[in-house]
Structure formats: structure tokens, C-alpha cells
């Protein structure tokens, strides 16, 4: 039974006001006469807690890269009050047992709401549907299914998966990568790959799958979510799909909004990622697509790797970048040239991802919903320093970049998990409670 009053926050960058929280929910300010705690939020932007639809927390299996605890702490520091844990763990999250394990680890950590994503196919092998219904009806309540890291390339399996998850209003989140066109691929196929002699990952390998899947989703009337799209052509296809009324949502990562394949000239594997960094024309297109709503959300594709998988030659290095702690500041920087305010940030990083996932207590500052909130200093001047981050992964490609916004406080169901940009105690759920008392 605790209450909290946030005083003088700039709510969604639109109006200054107070926010009242009691017992883990937003409540009417006038009902909170004697709060247990008051936060002076003068000069800070209040947004609903961020929701990441795409993160790799690595546990179970690769606890040397990240654990659900360190990943949750990283999420909290990045302002995320809910994080979706991708299924490519070891064992793969393709059964109710594994998704429940991740779900419970998230509650034991208590720094963010960890929402497991289930694999579409057994072992992510692309040949046989995993027990999607069992995962949906488990304690974890899985609604998003993805073989992320691998593409559900068989069109018949993809069709069946799209149809089957309608049983529980699920969504298939596709990693769009035509496997034959990307054999041995090391970077974007383009002028830079030609010069560097690195096998290329052509845009068409992404776009061909997106086009196919939009048509499949239209044919069977199912929900399709496109993970981390990265090319101009992909944005055009999603725009076309939406114009036809297809239930398609699309995601872009902070790094695809910011970085290009020119960085690969350094051969520094911190820039090695799947899908690869593309060209400036692609960066411009995904920014425009995010601004005009073609791209629905930002997902981080946070992918920590131990240093030995990155401190090596390019061709031997693992693909992936961390990004939860830098997502919001980077998106703000990437979108400065667009008419893209804090309410838009809240839409693409909180409200819409919560809607896609069906998280009713996230993504909103409405009275009565879960008190998930982040307070951001919009005039900080910070240099990104990966060594200071809570994630175990040091493979952050934004090291050294100056950003203007900083996460100051993260409030998870009424409990401050980040205070003055530092981790505080986890949510009391760790002691066996529930998110909302």
C-alpha cells in the first residue's frame, strides 16, 4: 500500500502536470491527498514506461552473455517497464516449460515485466509447429511467436502458423531473411560490400519474405509483425500492405535508424548485426516510415554477446548489438529532423508495442492502468559509455555518441526501479507478490 506523487512533469511533452500513483496504478490526482513519496519532476518529460517487443535476454543457456536479471536491469535503466524475451535461448523457448521459466526469472528479477516470446517451430528449425497453444495458455501467457534469428522460410509452415495463432489472437513476428539469398552473408550487399569483399545480404532477401508474408497474412486474415525491417523497399511493402488493409505491423531498431554500412569499413565487429546496417537511403526511408506511421514501433533487438565473440576478426564475430539502455536517446537523435515529438516517442516505444502484445497494464498514462512510467531529462548532455551500462554486453555501437536525453526515473507498477539514473531496489514482486498489490 504505497502512493507516489510526481509533481510538475511535462506529460508527453504536451502539458505540465502532476501524476498520482497508488497501489501500482495511476489514480486521479485529486484523490491522493497525503502521498507516501513525492518526486519533483520539474523539467522532466513523463512518458508511459517503454515496451520493447524485441530483446535477447540469453537465459537459459547463455548466461555468460546476459541473464534475465542483468537484462531486466538494463531494460529498467533504459526506461523499459516491459521487455519481450526472444525465443532463441538454449533450450529454445518452444515449450510451456521454457517460457514459464523465463517468465518466473523475470518476476524474480523484478526490474521490468519480462514477457516471453515463444518459438514458432520446434527448435526454431522451421519444419514443425511448436506447441503454440500450450505456451499461450501457460503462466507466461505468450501472444507473440517468433523464430527470430531465423526466418520461418517455408511458406506453408508460415501460413499454418499465421492461421493457427488466431485461436488465441496471437501474432507471428517474422525475421524476414530468405536463407538461400543470404548464405554466408556478412554485411549489406552494396557498394561497400563489393569493395570490402564481404559476402553481401541483399535487400531483396528481406523484401521477398516481407512481400510473401504480407500476402499470406492477407489471404488468411491473420496478424503479422515484421521484426527489425531495415530497407527502403521493406518500408514501401509495409505501406502497400497497410493500404490493402492487411493486419501488418512493423518494427525498426535504433541502430537501423542511425547507422550505415559505411561503418563496416572499420571491420570492427561491433557493427556486425542481422539484418545488417544498410545504406543512408535506407536509413532515411526507415526514419520517414517511422515518422509517417508506416513503421509502428521501435524494437531494440538488444543482443548481448561476450567479448570473445566480438573481439575477433569480422568474419568470425557474432551478429548483434546491445541497445536497451541507449534506445530512447538514440531514437530522439535519429528523429530530430522530423516532426516527431514525445507523444510520438511514447506511441512507437510504448503504446503500440503494448497493444501488439496485448499488455493492458502497459503503454498508457490513463488513470486505472498499471503505473508504468519513465521520466526523461530532455536536456541532458551525455556521451554514451557502454562500460557503465547494466547489460553484460559491451557490444554497443553508439559508444562515444553525444545524446541529449537521459532516463532519470523508471517506475514499474508504482515502484521506482531506477532513481536518478541509478538502479534502486527491485519491485516487491520478487518477494512473492504480484505486480499490482
Amino acid at each position: 500500500m504505497t502512493s507516489l506523487l510526481i509533481r510538475g512533469a511535462n506529460i508527453l511533452g504536451q502539458e505540465v502536470g502532476d501524476i498520482a500513483i497508488s497501489d501500482g496504478r495511476f489514480v486521479d490526482v485529486t484523490t491522493l491527498t497525503s502521498p507516501d513519496e513525492v518526486i519533483d519532476a520539474t523539467g522532466l518529460i513523463a512518458l508511459p514506461g517503454l515496451v520493447d517487443l524485441h530483446a535477447h535476454l540469453r537465459e537459459p543457456g547463455r548466461e555468460d552473455a546476459e541473464t534475465v536479471l542483468t537484462g531486466s536491469q538494463s531494460a529498467a535503466r533504459g526506461g523499459f517497464t516491459a521487455v519481450h524475451a526472444m525465443a532463441n535461448t538454449a533450450p529454445v523457448a518452444d515449450t510451456a516449460g521454457v517460457v514459464e521459466q523465463v517468465y518466473h526469472l523475470g518476476r524474480e528479477a523484478g526490474y521490468t515485466e519480462v514477457v516471453p516470446i515463444g518459438a514458432v517451430t520446434v527448435g526454431q528449425k522451421g519444419t514443425q509447429l511448436a506447441e503454440l497453444g500450450a505456451m499461450a495458455r501457460s503462466a507466461a501467457g505468450v501472444t507473440i511467436f517468433s523464430d527470430d534469428g531465423l526466418c520461418v522460410f517455408d511458406p506453408l509452415i508460415m501460413r499454418r502458423a499465421l492461421e493457427y495463432v488466431k485461436t488465441f489472437d496471437g501474432v507471428i513476428a517474422q525475421h524476414s531473411q530468405e536463407p538461400r539469398l543470404t548464405e554466408g552473408a556478412q554485411m549489406n550487399e552494396g557498394v561497400v560490400s563489393a569493395e570490402l569483399g564481404l559476402p553481401g545480404w541483399p535487400a531483396v532477401a528481406e523484401e521477398a519474405i516481407i512481400a510473401r508474408d504480407i500476402l499470406l497474412a492477407e489471404h488468411v486474415g491473420s496478424r503479422l509483425h515484421i521484426c527489425h525491417l531495415s530497407t527502403k523497399g521493406a518500408v514501401d511493402l509495409v505501406r502497400w500492405g497497410k493500404s490493402r488493409g492487411v493486419q501488418v505491423t512493423a518494427e525498426v531498431t535504433p541502430h537501423h535508424l542511425m547507422l550505415t554500412d559505411e561503418l563496416v569499413r572499420s571491420f570492427d565487429p561491433v557493427y556486425k548485426v542481422n539484418p545488417p546496417l544498410r545504406t543512408q537511403a535506407d536509413v532515411d526511408a526507415v526514419r520517414a516510415g517511422l515518422a509517417d506511421g508506416t513503421i509502428d514501433i521501435v524494437g531494440t533487438d538488444h543482443a548481448p554477446h561476450p567479448s570473445e565473440h566480438k573481439c575477433c576478426e569480422w568474419t568470425a564475430a557474432a551478429m548483434g548489438m546491445v541497445g536497451m539502455e541507449t534506445a530512447l536517446p538514440i531514437v530522439v537523435e535519429a528523429m530530430t529532423d522530423y516532426d516527431f515529438g514525445w507523444a510520438d516517442i511514447a506511441r512507437v516505444m510504448s503504446r503500440t508495442p503494448a497493444e501488439i502484445s496485448g499488455l493492458r497494464e502497459q503503454g498508457s498514462l490513463e488513470i486505472g492502468t498499471g503505473a508504468n512510467l519513465v521520466l526523461v531529462d530532455p536536456e541532458a548532455s551525455e556521451r554514451i559509455t557502454p562500460g557503465a551500462h547494466a547489460t553484460m554486453g559491451r557490444n554497443n555501437p553508439f559508444a562515444g555518441i553525444e545524446v541529449s536525453s537521459r532516463i532519470v526515473h523508471t517506475i514499474l507498477y508504482g515502484h521506482r526501479v531506477v532513481t536518478d539514473s541509478q538502479l534502486s531496489d527491485p519491485h516487491p514482486i520478487t518477494r512473492g507478490g504480484t505486480w499490482i498489490a
Binding site: 552494396g190 570490402l196 569483399g197 576478426e313
Partner: protein, 324 residues
């Protein structure tokens, strides 16, 4: 010059300087003792993650003629095959006092990584990285071209190629451009030295975006021969593993369309030099008549490779760019 990673890093002056030092190096073979004492006490490590006996022994001969100590480190049968990382390998070689590391690797960019990570404080020579670059091959090709263009002996001591570039010459590079580090290094260096580069290949074996390269591209070998009076035609080796990946229907068709056949050989101008980085697939990309003809400078290329690599090691390890 601390490292030699890419011919794109070489200015015209750098390149001519290296080729001129290589000219000096050819004189060593006229000495009664075919050795110079200039790198005594220096250790050169040949770090070969990929088999290449020809390139390794060429570097070894070059280092030994300069009196350096040579250590050959082959990844096969070493700790690398047991999973040792590049970082540990590099640091181990550094701890043993390597002054220069000549690295061959099947991954593009590995020499660049060794030179920029601070794992080892040695000069790095790229002896071929993946499908990226092979700068000493391009240097020896330009060295050989300079010789033939100035009417000098194609290899060995003598001649009057010093100080010259390749201005107003036209060089064809034929074959698997896509997977060729030799082609990439040559496109940079030939262009820097003023030559016009013509690439001839099936579209499947050209990199995406090749139109941005400083080169003219032909799919049809015969059209290219009609259009240009080539000073040299450089035939590239087609790797055996490419022959069954649908880059072209079969070896016979490739040979007919992109091989240096007798018919094409016979229509070449008298002065056209025939080059090949070796090893050759005789009867496939090049016919025996062309390979064994007086216009072929293929063995001269091999011979010049030692002089060029001597020049590179000398320049890297002594920091001197001029004559001896």
C-alpha cells in the same frame, strides 16, 4: 608506412616508391651472395590461416634475402585449429618479438583488424584476406607491367622502368572478379598508376555495384577485344568450388565465353602481355598455347613477387621509402 593492408591506401608516389625499391631489390640476384644485411635481427612471421604455399614461400624468400629471421606459423596443426582466438594468436606473436606479421586469412578484413586493435605492435602485411585484397600481388603485377611497357626485361635485374607509372595503358582483368582479392587490389593500384582498367566477366561473377568502380565492364570477352588494344590481359583463376554453384552452367561454357582460348590468343595484338596470378587451370581459363607463349609473363610475375615483397618488408621495417 607502418602496414600494407590495401592498395587503396597507396598514393601514386607511395606506389612508385615501392616499385622503385623493388627495382633495387632485383639487383640482389646479381650479387655473389644473394642476400642483403638490411633486416638482420628483425623477425618476420608468416601467419597463414589459409594454405598458400606459393605466397608463403615468396614472402619467406623475400625476408631471407634481406637477412630477417622468418617464422612460419600455419594455422593448421597449431593452437588456432584448437580454437585459439585471433587476439591470443596475435598477442603470442607479439610476446615473441615479431617485428612484422605477414597475414593470410580467409576472412576479409582480418589484417586490418590485426593492425588496428592494438593486440600486436608489429607491421602488418596483408598477404591476401578473403575476397578483399592482395596488395603485394597487385604490386608485383604493376611491377611486371612497368617492365614490359618500358621494353625492359620482364623480370630480373636491369631495364629502365624506374620512376614510371602506367599512364595511357589499358589492362583487362578477366574472370571471377566477385571473389577475387587480386582484382580488387589491382583495380585500386592500376587506377592510381594511371592505367585504364577493363573488367571482363559473366554478370554472376561481378560484384553488385561494380558500375561505381573506376573500370569499364564487359560481359563479352570478344567485344572487349574488339573495343580495346590491351597492353595486358590478366586472367584470373576460377576456384574449383565456384564451378558447381550456378555462377555459370559448366566449365566448357565458361571456357568458351571467358577463357583465353587459342582463338582469342591469336587475335591479341603482338604487344599484349598475358598475365595470371597463378596457380593456373590450364585448358579452363587459359589455354596452354597462351600460357606457354612468349607473351606470357606469368613466371616473371612470380619472380618479381620476391623483389616486390622484399621492397614491402624493407619499407615497413626500416621506415625508409627511398632507395637502399
Amino acid at each position: 608506412m607502418k602496414h600494407l593492408l590495401s592498395t587503396a591506401d597507396l598514393s601514386r608516389g607511395d606506389a612508385i616508391g615501392l616499385l622503385d625499391v623493388a627495382e633495387e631489390m632485383t639487383q640482389v640476384s646479381t650479387h655473389s651472395v644473394k642476400k642483403l644485411p638490411v633486416l638482420r635481427g628483425h623477425t618476420v612471421v608468416n601467419l597463414f590461416f589459409e594454405d598458400s604455399t606459393r605466397t608463403r614461400i615468396s614472402f619467406e624468400a623475400a625476408a631471407k634475402r634481406l637477412s630477417a629471421d622468418v617464422i612460419n606459423f600455419s594455422a593448421k596443426g597449431s593452437s588456432v585449429s584448437k580454437g585459439e582466438s585471433l587476439q591470443d594468436t596475435a598477442q603470442t606473436l607479439g610476446a615473441m618479438g615479431a617485428d612484422a606479421v605477414v597475414v593470410r586469412h580467409n576472412g576479409s578484413g582480418t589484417p586490418y583488424r590485426l593492425a588496428t586493435t592494438g593486440w600486436i605492435d608489429a607491421g602488418v602485411v596483408n598477404a591476401g584476406d578473403g575476397t578483399h585484397e592482395h596488395p603485394t600481388q597487385a604490386l608485383l603485377d604493376s611491377f611486371t607491367l612497368r617492365r614490359t611497357l618500358t621494353g625492359s626485361p620482364a623480370s630480373g635485374p636491369g631495364g629502365n622502368a624506374r620512376g614510371t607509372d602506367l599512364a595511357s595503358t589499358t589492362v583487362a582483368v578477366v574472370g571471377d572478379i566477385l571473389h577475387s582479392r587480386v582484382a580488387r587490389s589491382n583495380v585500386h593500384l592500376l587506377t592510381t598508376l594511371g592505367a585504364r582498367v577493363v573488367l571482363i566477366a559473366p554478370p554472376t561473377l561481378l560484384p553488385w555495384g561494380v558500375e561505381t568502380w573506376p573500370a569499364e565492364v564487359f560481359y563479352d570477352f570478344d567485344e572487349a577485344l574488339d573495343a580495346h588494344d590491351f597492353d595486358a590481359v590478366m586472367m584470373l583463376r576460377v576456384q574449383f568450388e565456384r564451378m558447381h554453384q550456378s555462377f555459370f552452367p559448366n566449365t566448357r561454357e565458361y571456357s568458351r565465353l571467358w577463357g583465353m582460348t587459342s582463338a582469342r590468343y591469336n587475335r591479341l595484338p603482338e604487344h599484349t602481355a598475358i598475365m595470371h596470378p597463378g596457380p593456373m587451370n590450364r585448358g579452363f581459363e587459359i589455354c596452354a598455347q597462351a600460357a606457354d607463349s612468349p607473351r606470357a609473363v606469368i613466371l616473371n610475375q612470380v619472380e618479381n613477387g620476391v623483389a616486390v615483397r622484399m621492397a614491402v618488408l624493407y619499407s615497413l621495417l626500416t621506415g625508409k621509402e627511398g632507395a637502399l
